[in-house]
Each structure stands twice: as structure tokens, then as C-alpha cells.
């Protein structure tokens, strides 16, 4: 660390006019066009942009990990005074881990599943140092302790699958920092983590960065995270740097129209404050809904996993009920039980008072169309081999609507979801993520459902597209007087759309009530922890 501080006072990383070409036939000529920025010692620079903006390409270029199809065609990447844009393999290998390190989004795939965590950190030391095995072991234990992992001895003897997502990310960080690099590149390191874990990892990165005085290039799409961690912010759009400045300046007084638009699209944690009326009959009610998975071993040992326990909710026409929770909380299980993609173990699901929980497939068929669902992943929700038209008319045709009538309706629906009816004959791969999600909504609406379930329907979308789809869902719910069950892990999104909120943790609903009440004055400890962890919760975007 002292060594790092002694190496002069220039920036750790200075990127000047970096240009990276894309293969011919791509949507644009260059992945990155003339990007210039620097990361100073002891500074966190956040590189923000939507998917396809080229932010990960920049990270790979700095690390020398670009595939041959993406050549650096111009500019310099200066790491501690040395231009590494065209450095040889050997030199880059020496620099990696010692002078610059990287942590990735998905800690499970970034770690080798058949090596213990200790061995993986040890590998770095063996490659780059001449330490004895005892010295290496001391270094490993020290760094594991530093990333605040409990029981370091046990942790370094564990395999990655034995650790939680947050612990794995800590191992990744330990591995990246064990040789005290001057530059840490973090490529969406908390995107795959739950919000509470994310908060801990962000604190850890900040803490380590201050202690070691290294420069951090932090790549993210999440403005909440930016508000939480950044010193300076660089905004990237279609490979071009559109805005660069101090955090407060960029987030509160954005100059470029694109930055303004992005920041304007960040949902606030304030609820919409719309009066929720509760007069009408509930469309759907669950009473004591349970789903238990049994894992029966060969020798009679039985393990039970309670995915959902005693879940009772009700949804009325024109209302949105949000189920909020972290991964594994059972929120998607509830949705899949309600739409009967999986069979509940116990409890009732009352659709207009009629229990559908134990209906056979044949009995259920006429009722299926009344509840429809939109899934999270727009790339997998549409059959790649069917046109959009076929996708939308499939449901009505199943229920005996004549084909020409169904096509007519599909055209109207495309209008409703603000898409061009002329594109009905195209295939899903010709659309962007947001457009596909609109198509999925149209497909669900073609059945004229009474209840629409949105299972993390906007979670995979960029923030600006997310805002548009949320707006569309809101509009549709109002126009068609739908009941909506909105499942999300994102408190900001929940605050925007929900009238009622149920917070789930470990299969149980721990708190539920009107959105204003749950968000304004959370009563349950878990809800409070969830809110406390929401990144950038105290930050007023675009104000001032």
C-alpha cells in the first residue's frame, strides 16, 4: 500500500481518446468512440450507462481482456504512466492482479467450482510472488479477515457453492486485492446480489478503497448505487462519454439531455399517494397458501423447503398489489401458485370466490384466461421461432376465437402497448428488450384477463425503458380496470406502482398494508432493514 502511494501522484488510470471498433454488420461502427477519463488515486469513478453503452467493453480493454473481434483502434490506456492499450500478453499477465484487478457481476461463475476458495486466492500469490507456503497462508487469512468474512479458516477450506452470494463476492474481492493493486475495476459487482447484501458489499468496497488508497473504476447501471458510492461519475451513451463530473453535479444538475433523461427515469422511493379504494369485491384471494418442496433421499431422510407459508393476500379490480422481497423469499412461488404453473401444497386460491387451488387441468382450463402473467426475462418469454402475431393470437385461438377476429384484436393490442401493428409479422429477435416486454403484455392482454401478474416484469430493463414499461402498465391497469399483482425486488419500482404492498421474507409475509403506510412507517424489522439497504435512498436525484 505504501508502495502504491509512493509511485507518484498522477492518476492511476488515464484513458485518452479510447476507440474500440465493432465487427462489421453491428448496429454501430464503434463500441467505444473516443472516450477520455481518468481515475485518480483514492477515488471511485462510476461509469454509468444502459446496456450496450460500451461500459463493460472499456473495463475489458483496460484489463486487456478484449476478444480479437473488438480491436482497440485508437487512443491510449495509461496505467500508472504505462500505456497498456497495446501491451503484450506477458506484460498484461504481470500487471493483472498486481497493479490492476477486476471483480465481476456473477461471483458464482467467476469462481472455479472445483477449487476451494483458499486455493483460488493462493493461486494468485503463487503466480505473482515468491512467498513460502506459510507466508502465503498468512496473507490469505489476513485478506479474508479484511473482507470481513467470518471464520476465515473455515471459509478458505470451503468450495464456492458452500458460500452465499455475498460471501462469494467477498472472496472475489479478497482475490482481487490480495496483491494490493493500484486500480480495482468493479463490473456491476452487486447487480446479482440482494439489496441488503448489496449494501454490505458497497460499504466494503468503499472501506477497502479508503484504507488502501486505490483507484476504483466502478461500472453500474444503477443510479442508486452511483449515489451511494461514487466520487465522480462518467455517463456513457452508445460508446460516447456524454458527461463527466463530480457526483453531486452530475446527479443533481445534469447538463446533457441524456443524463437528464436517465436521472428523470429513476423511480423515487416516495409512493404515488393515490387514494386506494377498497370497495369492490376481490378478484383474487389466497387463504393460507403454502408451497413446500420435499427432497426425499434414498434412505428415507426427508428435507422440507417451505417456499411459501401461510400466504394470504387479496387483490381487487383497479388495484395493484406489490409483493416485495429478496431472492428466495417466495414471492415468485406465490405468483406461480396463483397462475397454477405449480401446485400449492395447502391453502385456497379463490378466484371470484371459487377455489382453484386443487382443480384438475381440465376444470382449470376455462378459468386460465382470467389470470395472465408477464415474466422477467424478455429474451426468453417469447418463442424465438414464432412471429409476434402468432404469439399474441395463440391464447384467443385456444379459446375458440376465430383467427381473423384474433388478428384484428392483435392489431388493436399493438396500438394499446404503443407499438406499430405493422411489425406483427416479425420475429422476437428483431425487437429490443423493452419492445419484447410490450409484446408480452399484449399477449397477456389478448386473453382479456381480470388479473395481470407482473413477475419482475421490468427488472431486466434499462432504467429509461423501465420507466416507459411501468408507465404503460399503469395506463393499461387504469383503462381496463385490471387487478394487478406486481412482484419485484426493487423498492423504487414498488413505490411507483403499488397501492398495497406485501413484504415477504423466507416464505412468509412479514408486513402488509397500503403502500403509503408500509413505505412511510414500516413496522416490521425486516422491512426497515430492506429500506435502510436501498441504495441512494437519501439522495434527491435531479433536485437543486
Amino acid at each position: 500500500m505504501t508502495d502504491a502511494k509512493l509511485r507518484g501522484s498522477g492518476p492511476v488510470l488515464d484513458v485518452r481518446g479510447l476507440t474500440i471498433a465493432l465487427p462489421s454488420g453491428s448496429d454501430r461502427r464503434e463500441a467505444v468512440s473516443g472516450a477520455s477519463f481518468s481515475v485518480k488515486r483514492g477515488e471511485i469513478l462510476c461509469l454509468v450507462g444502459e446496456s450496450g453503452s460500451g461500459k463493460s467493453v472499456i473495463a475489458q480493454a483496460v484489463m486487456g481482456l478484449l476478444p480479437d473481434t473488438l480491436p482497440v483502434t485508437g487512443g491510449e490506456i495509461v496505467l500508472e504512466g504505462e500505456n497498456v492499450a497495446h501491451a503484450g500478453r506477458e506484460r498484461l499477465r504481470e500487471l493483472r492482479a498486481t497493479r490492476m484487478s477486476m471483480i465481476f457481476q456473477e461471483p458464482m461463475t467467476a469462481l472455479n467450482p472445483v477449487m476451494t476458495c483458499g486455493d483460488q486466492i493462493d493461486e494468485v500469490l503463487r503466480e505473482h510472488t515468491q512467498l513460502t507456503p506459510e507466508q502465503r497462508r498468512d496473507r490469505i487469512l489476513a485478506i479474508v479477515r479484511e473482507v470481513a468474512l467470518p471464520e476465515p479458516e473455515r471459509i478458505i477450506a470451503s468450495y464456492p457453492h458452500q458460500l452465499s452470494g455475498g460471501q462469494r463476492q467477498r472472496i472475489m474481492i479478497a482475490m482481487a486485492l490480495v496483491l494490493e493493486p493500484a486500480l480495482l475495476i468493479a463490473d456491476e459487482p452487486t447487480t446479482a446480489l440482494d439489496v441488503t447484501t448489496q449494501a454490505q458489499i458497497l460499504t466494503l468496497i468503499q472501506d477497502l478503497q479508503q484504507r488502501h488508497g486505490m483507484g476504483v473504476l466502478f461500472i453500474t447501471h444503477d443510479f442508486g448505487v452511483v449515489a451511494e458510492i461514487a466520487h465522480r461519475v462518467a455517463v456513457l451513451r452508445l460508446g460516447k462519454l456524454v458527461e463527466l463530473g463530480e457526483k453531486d453535479a452530475v446527479l443533481k444538475r445534469p447538463q446533457h439531455a441524456y443524463t437528464k433523461m436517465l436521472i428523470g427515469a429513476v423511480p423515487s422511493l416516495q409512493t404515488h399517494g393515490r387514494a386506494a379504494e377498497g370497495a369492490s369485491e376481490p378478484v383474487l384471494r389466497t387463504v393460507g397458501l403454502c408451497k413446500t418442496y420435499y427432497d426425499r433421499g434414498w434412505f428415507g431422510r426427508r428435507r422440507e423447503v417451505h417456499a411459501a407459508q401461510d400466504v394470504s393476500i387479496e387483490i381487487r379490480r383497479g388495484q395493484t398489489l406489490g409483493i416485495v422481497g429478496e431472492s428466495g423469499s417466495g414471492k415468485s412461488t406465490v405468483a406461480r401458485c396463483i397462475i397454477r404453473l405449480i401446485d400449492p401444497t395447502a391453502g385456497e386460491i379463490l378466484l371470484h370466490g371459487q377455489d382453484i387451488a386443487r382443480m384438475s387441468a381440465a376444470e382449470l382450463r376455462p378459468l386460465r384466461r382470467r389470470v395472465q402473467i408477464v415474466f422477467q426475462d424478455p429474451y426468453r418469454s417469447l418463442n424465438p421461432r414464432r412471429t409476434v402475431l402468432e404469439a399474441i393470437i395463440e391464447g384467443p385461438v385456444n379459446y375458440g376465437v376465430r383467427r381473423d377476429k384474433a388478428i384484428e384484436r392483435a392489431r388493436q393490442l399493438m396500438d394499446l402497448v404503443r407499438m406499430d401493428p405493422a411489425s406483427l409479422n416479425r420475429y422476437p429477435h428483431q425487437f429490443s428488450g423493452g419492445q419484447r416486454q410490450r409484446i408480452c403484455i399484449a399477449r397477456a392482454l389478448a386473453q382479456e384477463p381480470e388479473l395481470l401478474i407482473a413477475d419482475e416484469a421490468v427488472s431486466a430493463l434499462d432504467v429509461s425503458v423501465q420507466a416507459q414499461v411501468l408507465d404503460l402498465l399503469e395506463d393499461i391497469r387504469n383503462r381496463l380496470n385490471l387487478a394487478m399483482l406486481f412482484i419485484t425486488h426493487d423498492l423504487r419500482v414498488a413505490a411507483q406502482v403499488c397501492d398495497y404492498v406485501a413484504v415477504m421474507s423466507q416464505g412468509r409475509i412479514v408486513e402488509h398494508g397500503p403502500a403509503g403506510q408500509v413505505f412511510g412507517a414500516p413496522r416490521h424489522e425486516y422491512t426497515r432493514a430492506l429500506f435502510a439497504a436501498a441504495p441512494g435512498r437519501d439522495f434527491a436525484f435531479g433536485s437543486a
Partner: protein, 314 residues
């Protein structure tokens, strides 16, 4: 107000998602550009042309015996007496066998058998394999029974099953094709089942369930079309295997009757005289090798273009 509107439209264009609007080549365009596909396809097209136009390639009746022109070496001239008693002067490009039959004619006509067996055996095993694999993969209660049966079938060596079946039913083109197809069915079933198991978890299949689509429509309308690319590739490998197995069966004398010219038959008949007249085995062997190679090259090309994920794994 107009100012506000132009602002809104500006924001709308700013928020266009960049990464996705990409013109991608269609699978067919990629297939046509691939050199393996071009070479393998061209070689196969040539062989198909030979098979179809065998009677017009200067051949004589491949079953015609002529004691006078026995055991000729390639290129020798001789005479052949037709069934009508007519005597034709004929140049034996590939020589003749110990019955005086023209090997050139037999090899040309033999291409018909090889290609027919290859295509029909592949189609037959794919058809059964698809039905079994879809059922086992989608209808979970059927999985155990069906797959244990397939495991049993797989445990018996393919040639052994084929020999047993042909021995039971007498050798004819139909029996040989069935005998070759049956051992391939478990392999196709396993492939289809594994594909179905992953595709059935895709959200678009779940969406179809939620839309009230009947199970058979989901199986054949949603899942099957998404398994086609790997199946086409698998189909070419079955073709190659079928050609070899047919030749092996004929060589072992349990395939098609000796009067039907197949490459395996020609080689089997040439075996006793291999030392003096190696061309009897060598020439049909070369054709066999070229055909199998062409099918395999085509298969590799299709795999690389239709199923890039699979190509990286191999």
C-alpha cells in the same frame, strides 16, 4: 407547447435501446456461407446425381453375369452378353468380379442403396426418437419407464441388434433400414429429451401453459421447433453411421441379398480374392469413405452454423 413536444420526442429518441437493434444474418444465410457445408453438400449432391443417373453413366445391368469376362482388372476391355443374348463391347473401368459382373456399374448402382438407406434410416430414427424424447421430457410420469427401456436398448450393440432383426425377418431393403434405425432411436431420444428438459423451463413455455394451450400443442408447436437445429446435425451423423452399418451388414452377409448391388456386397464378394484383385474391395471402399466423409463434413458445418453453442463445446 411545441417546445415541450420536441423535447419529449428528443427524449424518446435518446432512450432508444442501442444494443438490440442489430441486423443479424438468418441461420440459412450462415449455413450457405459455411465452407464445410458447401464442400460436404457438393460432394453429396454429386453422389446423389450418380445414384439417380446411374443407368445413363455408361453402365450395364449390374446383375449381369458373364463367365467370359471374369476377374478383369480396371481399364480392361471385354464383352458382356445381355439377357437377350446380345453381345456388347464394354470397357471395365473398375474391372469385374469373379462372376464377371461389371464393378463400375455395381458401384454406381450401389450409391442408390447407400443413400436410400442413409436418408430413410435417419428419418425413421428421428421420427421415433422425437416422439419418444418429447414424451419422456415433457410427460414426466412416462420418463422413467421409457428411458429405462431406451437404456436397455442402448446396452445391446447396434450391429448385434441389426443382425438379429435381419435374421428374424429376412434381408430386404425395408428390414435393413429398420434394423439400422432401431439402435439409433435411443440416442435420438436421449438428445431430444435433454433438449426438452431445458426448453420446458423457458418462460415462453410457461406462458403458453398460462394461455391455456393444450399439452400436445405445446409439445409439437413450442418445444419441437426449438430442437430442430441440433436434430438436423444429429440426423447427418445417423446418415453417416447408417451407410457404414449397411455396408457392414452386407459385408457380413446378413444385409441385402447378394444380387442387389451395394458397396458392402461388392466388398464381401471381393474378399476371397483380395490378394490378387484388391480393386474389388478398394474401389467401393473409396466411395464409401468419401460418402461418409462428405456427410460428416456437412454435419460439422451445420453444427457450427445452426448450433454455435455446441460448436464451442466440441
Amino acid at each position: 407547447m411545441p417546445a415541450a413536444q420536441s423535447k419529449a420526442s428528443e427524449l424518446e429518441t435518446l432512450s432508444v435501446e442501442a444494443a438490440d437493434i442489430r441486423v443479424t444474418e438468418s441461420a440459412w444465410q450462415r449455413v450457405r456461407k459455411n465452407w464445410s457445408v458447401r464442400i460436404g453438400g457438393a460432394a453429396l449432391a454429386l453422389l446423389l446425381l450418380i445414384a439417380v443417373s446411374a443407368p445413363w453413366l455408361g453402365t450395364v445391368d449390374p446383375t449381369l453375369f458373364d463367365a467370359a469376362s471374369r476377374d478383369l482388372v480396371p481399364g480392361q476391355r471385354g464383352e458382356i452378353t445381355t439377357l437377350d443374348g446380345e453381345i456388347i463391347k464394354h470397357k471395365f473401368w473398375f474391372g469385374s468380379d469373379s462372376y464377371g459382373r461389371d464393378i463400375y456399374s455395381r458401384v454406381m448402382y450401389g450409391a442408390r442403396v447407400s443413400l436410400t438407406v442413409a436418408v430413410l434410416a435417419a428419418l425413421l430414427s428421428l421420427a421415433f426418437g422425437i416422439v419418444c424424447g418429447l414424451s419422456a421430457g415433457y410427460l414426466r410420469w412416462l420418463d422413467g419407464i421409457l428411458m429405462r427401456f431406451m437404456d436397455g436398448l442402448m446396452a445391446i450393440p447396434a450391429i448385434l441388434i441389426a443382425i438379429a432383426l435381419v435374421a428374424m425377418w429376412r434381408g430386404s431393403l425395408t428390414t435393413v433400414i429398420i434394423a439400422i434405425a432401431i439402435p439409433e432411436i435411443p440416442r435420438v431420444t436421449r438428445l431430444v429429451r435433454s433438449l426438452v428438459l431445458s426448453i420446458r423451463e423457458e418462460p415462453y413455455v410457461e406462458a403458453a401453459v398460462a394461455l391455456g394451450t393444450p399439452t400436445w400443442k405445446i409439445m409439437f408447436g413450442h418445444i419441437l421447433p426449438n430442437t430442430i437445429a441440433p436434430l438436423v446435425v444429429q440426423g447427418t451423423y445417423i446418415c453417416a453411421a447408417a451407410i457404414l452399418v449397411e455396408a457392414i451388414l452386407s459385408f457380413l452377409g446378413v444385409g441385402l441379398p447378394p444380387d442387389i448391388p451395394t458397396w458392402g456386397n461388392i466388398m464381401a464378394e471381393g474378399r476371397p480374392q483380395f490378394n490378387q484383385y484388391p480393386h474389388n474391395i478398394f474401389i467401393p471402399g473409396v466411395f464409401l469413405a468419401i460418402t461418409v466423409l462428405a456427410v460428416n463434413i456437412l454435419g460439422d458445418g451445420l453444427r457450427d452454423t445452426l448450433d454455435p453453442k455446441m460448436a464451442k463445446r466440441v
